[in-house]
Homo-oligomer: 368 residues x 2
């Protein structure tokens, strides 16, 4: 099983191993001082530690709704459900659509694939190009399923971004057929040039737009959300309530307090983008120098570089890499029906420049 | 549907309404200063804000395991899975046992009933007496289901505690038949006299023992756990990973840091027990004085007083109560096949003494 393999890899990692495997944000950039300040305020009011409503605290939902409104995507707090990371949003939506057919990208995010399997969704994987999903194939499959799961911004694992044209085509087709789009957008804020409009913006009643503070702020808050039509949010909230009553009210209040200083958050995002762009550039240049046969395109955002090492079985080689104390995820892990063997996903956000160089040098030795 | 009714009640509550309805702990006793101190330490290490393993942080699991060991119930951190409240533990276990038969108490915790319904478990409800479930009936049903959900300490809603004899009979029967017991124990620490041994202690491989810090510390942490055999915990951890990757690492670390000062936690528990006992006594005496026809037994712990108002339809009356700005939960809500009408669950932990007196006076008027 796919999941066990990744776990097998991750469990084999010790402190000396350089990991390009996980989708971890850079710890160095965590704004812990501001979070500590926020938490100090939170604990001043005992009510913040009490049970709260399943949808999430209103003040935080209002702030998230405002982010959408600022981008011209009309949204009220009633369109927002707070979840324990966007992973849980995906789980809840999958329970809602239990046993239905669904179109996914090929390759796709493993966590989603496992959720769909668990909830009996029947996946049909459509080829993902560097400018988005193959439209012809998408239309054919979506016509049947009326449900799709896409990651249009800096996809995991492929790091691709959908073109505006494909976005438009998809939104029109989803609306026309009366289907639903699950748009997973954890990396959307991590752009290197400018932000692209979501597909959901044009189909507010036919979409679930998933966001998260795990990549932009810190994963440990475990706060994500889903934006959808109010009647859908109400149904998802009932499922959420059954699963865990509500996500931590303490971390919701800490985040809410932190976001009171919006300038500081926006500044933080800019630092993050700049830093990740530099890291990506460094990783890309190091790859070109140390492993020039690796074929890839520079991503326009996100956390991953994805590419191809011609004529090598990257899954077999990962065990040798582990012996050399370096690790990545072989591309085949992200395919439901994987018969490819030469692809690799590298994470560039978590390692230091020194580690990137050293890690790629170690890989050079085993790729010879 | 049951859930909607309770929600309907809770949503009708405004700030002026005195609520005996929810299972809310007393905010006044939340140790927010100590939690704030703990959180300050947590934010000193950026790693505490990173992703963590699905089972929960090891240091916290070790501390919870130690609580069991101190009571002679051998437990290692590998027997513990951290969950988002014990609600989530119950959800995860229910997904594990999907579509099986299960014995529950009559009446039982509504949150559990909804989880079982959602996951297709087929419930068979057995009468709960003041010293525990009806044994004859339990044996008959458990023989078929091999699975039971019980709340032996200060049950929700009935506030009853199982006798030692019934505990022994149940543990032996569960072991003999090779079945499983789900023992929900959120109120176990809230005893007024002394702690009773869990049933699970005698069947460590045939039980899931559920605990929570929501009633003993603060609900907003959303930290509960399940204690079970390692091989079962491994399976539950996979389900947990699919649902939300992991519970907030920040609140796990805050709790872990707080528990470093064990003396302080134990002192807090003693204050809580003393305060709740006083509250219960005050509520009971006020009931005897103001609504003497209400039939009940004083609970030995927990948060609820449960009883009977002969010849009154307590569900019909709750709407009148709401008009008078006071609310409780009619007992019928806790019955899967409810054809009783005269029972009531009162929460005594959350309201002040003044509110208790005033609330009962308002009820007096509508019960005439």
């Amino acid at each position: 099983m796919k999941r066990s393999f990744i776990r097998e890899i991750l469990e084999a990692i010790d402190d000396e191993t350089i990991s390009f495997a996980g989708g971890l944000p850079s710890e160095k950039l965590f704004p812990v001082k501001d979070l500590e300040k926020a938490s100090k305020k939170v604990f001043k009011d005992k009510k913040h530690c009490q049970y709260t409503i399943s949808g999430g605290i209103k003040t935080l939902r209002k702030k998230i709704a405002k982010f959408y409104c600022e981008e011209g995507f009309e949204t009220s707090f009633e369109n927002i459900l707070i979840t324990t990371g966007s992973q849980q949003a995906l789980y809840i939506i999958s329970r809602f659509f239990e046993s239905k057919d669904i179109v996914i990208e090929k390759p796709s995010y493993l966590g989603a694939v496992n959720i769909f399997k668990t909830n009996g969704l029947n996946m049909s994987a459509v080829k993902l190009d560097n400018d988005g999903i193959d439209i012809k194939e998408f239309k054919k499959e979506f016509k049947k399923s009326k449900l799709a799961y896409l990651i249009p911004d800096f996809q995991n694992p492929k790091a691709s971004r959908y073109s505006n044209k494909k976005r438009e085509t998809i939104s029109k087709f989803v609306e026309k057929t009366g289907g639903y789009l699950i748009e997973d957008a954890p990396y959307s804020e991590l752009y290197f040039d400018k932000k692209t409009e979501s597909i959901s913006k044009y189909i507010p009643n036919n979409s679930f737009h998933l966001g998260s503070f795990s990549k932009t702020l810190v994963p440990g808050l475990r706060i994500g959300w889903v934006r959808a039509d109010k009647s859908l949010i109400d149904k998802l909230t009932q499922i959420k309530e059954t699963i865990d009553l509500h996500s931590s009210s303490i971390t919701q209040h800490i985040l809410n307090e932190y976001l009171e200083n919006l300038k500081s958050y926006k500044k933080h995002l800019n630092i993050l983008r700049k830093n990740y762009f530099e890291k990506m550039e460094f990783f890309a240049k190091s790859l070109e120098k140390i492993i020039p046969e690796f074929e890839f395109e520079r991503p326009k955002g996100g956390m991953f570089i994805y590419g191809k090492l011609p004529n090598k079985n990257t899954k077999e080689l990962v065990y040798k890499a582990l012996e050399k104390k370096v690790v990545y995820v072989p591309g085949v892990e992200f395919y439901v029906d994987g018969n490819i063997s030469d692809e690799i996903r590298f994470n560039f956000s978590h390692s230091s420049k020194k580690e990137i160089k050293e890690g790629l040098k170690r890989l050079r030795e085993i790729y010879n």
